[in-house]
């Protein structure tokens, strides 16, 4: 969010310090991406220069050193999700992992059936991949979600038929942080011999994920959501009970046991591995800390403002996520008022399409409240002082914008906004 023309002015912002000593701007958008953990960077650095080898070079130490680092990462990632190292395939990130999982399974099991089940609140990397497959004769069911953002397991049961080959449901939602009943979905799929893929990008390293206990067959992972590097991801593909096979998207040198050709991004892979081992060690304390900060933020805002609504289940939710709608205030104008804080809004005005968040709409949140929503993503490096600052700024800005809002005025006069005939512009 810049203040002069089109030039991003993060440098200007970096100079600023709030009266209580906190550095501005505050980053609280950890679902979009996370800052790198310095310990991750430190581990990656040698692999750019001294240890530059190609992990596929079998004939000299340069290659062996790189390969060793890649294999250590494979172990670390596998350990975090209860998998075995051979079940981890490196990719360029979760968009690729989602594509590889869904298209790879669809093509491999085409003979068996052509039906895929997903949910309306999935990430675009899943939804658009499914849409693509529809053009090639696949039938896709997009399950609705309930008011709290969770799918209804009975819906899932009802939609499964003898042509169903794949169920793809995310572990944690990137907008509302809602956790789907992954273990129950996995059990249902296993009973019916249907492959279960989960986009676990937002969940891995934040909540415990165990591919065996949860009967997950394929899972997407990305480095930059867990304090690792961007452009480094992985796909877990089950090797036994049952063995899952996928058709590659990228053909070539036969890397990653033929499932994903291309010279491995060794520094990125090292970073992803380190990020996973840190998450493994720190998750128990970190998740308690994040949930504490999140609840503090929520209480601090809600005790001072009326007509504030939480989007999605509070019970089944990522520890660091809070998604709230501030009635009568439009999200982008709110972001503008708190421009020393980096968060996101589901408002249409912040999107290129002028459509408010499809995730919030799927919960049955009215368009008006979807326009008023803010997503807070609290992460490893946020502090309580920052949370206090954010809560104060949000409260004061919402109060100011409500004074400016004709809707707030009408509501206070007792006008039922639902019954007003709006002279809407078609746009």
């Amino acid at each position: 969010m810049s203040t002069n023309g089109n030039k991003a002015t993060l440098n200007d912002h970096e100079q600023r310090t709030a009266p209580n000593g906190i550095k501005l701007p505050i980053y609280m958008d950890n679902h979009a991406t996370t800052p790198m953990d310095p310990r991750v960077l430190e581990e990656m650095l040698p692999y750019f220069m001294e240890k530059f080898g190609n992990a596929a070079s079998r004939n000299h130490p340069f290659g062996w050193v790189a390969e060793e680092a890649v294999e250590l990462s494979r172990e670390r990632i596998a350990k975090l999700i209860g998998a075995s190292p051979k079940e981890i395939i490196f990719t360029s990130g979760a968009t690729e992992s989602d594509n590889l999982a869904i298209k790879g399974v669809a093509e491999m099991y085409r003979e068996k059936g052509n039906h895929i089940i997903t949910a309306v609140t999935e990430h675009k990397a899943v939804l658009d991949t499914c849409k693509h497959l529809e053009k090639f004769g696949f039938r896709v069911t997009y399950l609705p979600v309930q008011k709290d953002g969770l799918i209804d397991l009975d819906d899932l049961k009802r939609t499964m038929d003898d042509k169903t080959i794949l169920v793809t449901i995310m572990a944690a939602n990137n907008e509302i942080g809602v956790l789907q009943p992954i273990a129950e979905i996995g059990k249902l799929c296993r009973e019916r011999g249907v492959i279960f893929h989960t986009d676990a990008v937002q969940a891995i390293g934040k909540i415990p994920i165990d591919v065996n206990k949860m009967n997950i067959d394929v899972a997407s992972i990305t480095g930059h959501k867990l304090y690792g590097p961007k452009g480094a991801g992985a796909l877990y593909v089950r090797r036994k009970n049952p063995r899952v096979q996928i058709v590659p998207l990228i053909d070539g040198g036969g890397h990653e046991r033929g499932m994903r050709s291309g010279t491995l991004n060794v520094p990125g892979i090292v970073g992803l591995g380190k990020a996973c081992s840190l998450a493994m060690e720190e998750m128990p304390q970190e998740s308690v800390k994040l949930a504490g900060l999140r609840d503090h933020l929520k209480n601090s805002i809600m005790s001072r403002l009326d007509e504030v609504y939480i989007n999605g289940s509070m019970e089944h939710r990522l520890p660091g996520n809070l998604n709230i709608s501030f009635a009568y205030v439009e999200g982008e104008s709110l972001l503008m008022g708190i421009n020393d804080i980096a968060v996101s809004s589901g408002s249409a005005c912040t999107s290129a399409t002028l459509e408010p968040s499809y995730v919030l709409k799927a919960l049955g949140t009215g368009d008006d409240l979807a326009h008023s929503s803010i997503r807070f993503g609290i992460g490893r490096f946020n502090t309580e002082a920052e949370v206090d600052y954010v809560a104060d700024r949000v409260v004061e800005t919402v109060l100011r914008l409500r004074e400016l809002s004709p809707l707030y005025e009408m509501a206070k006069e007792g006008v039922d906004l639902k019954n007003v005939k709006w002279a809407a512009e078609a746009h």
Binding site: M1, M336, E425, H427
Partner: protein, 138 residues
Amino acid sequence: MSYSDKVIDHYNNPRNVGSMDKSSADVGTGLVGAPECGDVMKLQIKVNPQTNVIEDAKFKTFGCGSAIASSSLATEWVKGKTVDQALEIKNTEIVKELALPPVKIHCSVLAEDAIRAAIGDWKKKQEATKPAAVQTVQ
């Protein structure tokens, strides 16, 4: 989204925020947009019935920063103009003044609509009070 200095200035120091008595004969009220679309503007004008000059204007807006700035600017521009002069204000002039990017053009369109709606409302009241004497300007 990055904003021009003028948008930021109007957002931080909106001009003429407030409400006037919408039942008064001299006041015209325009309410445009819809909450579902993420933008609602209320623009009010107070017109001198002798001179047709807009003596005061007030607004309240639910919408993005550009929508707030467009309506704030609109109140500044209509003040001191006659009703007919105010009708000449074009959304493209607002776009230019505030340096709005293409995705924000509809915010300026809404401001132009709000001016027209307020004037339309005022005219209707005028016709109602002196039905025979006033010529209708369409």
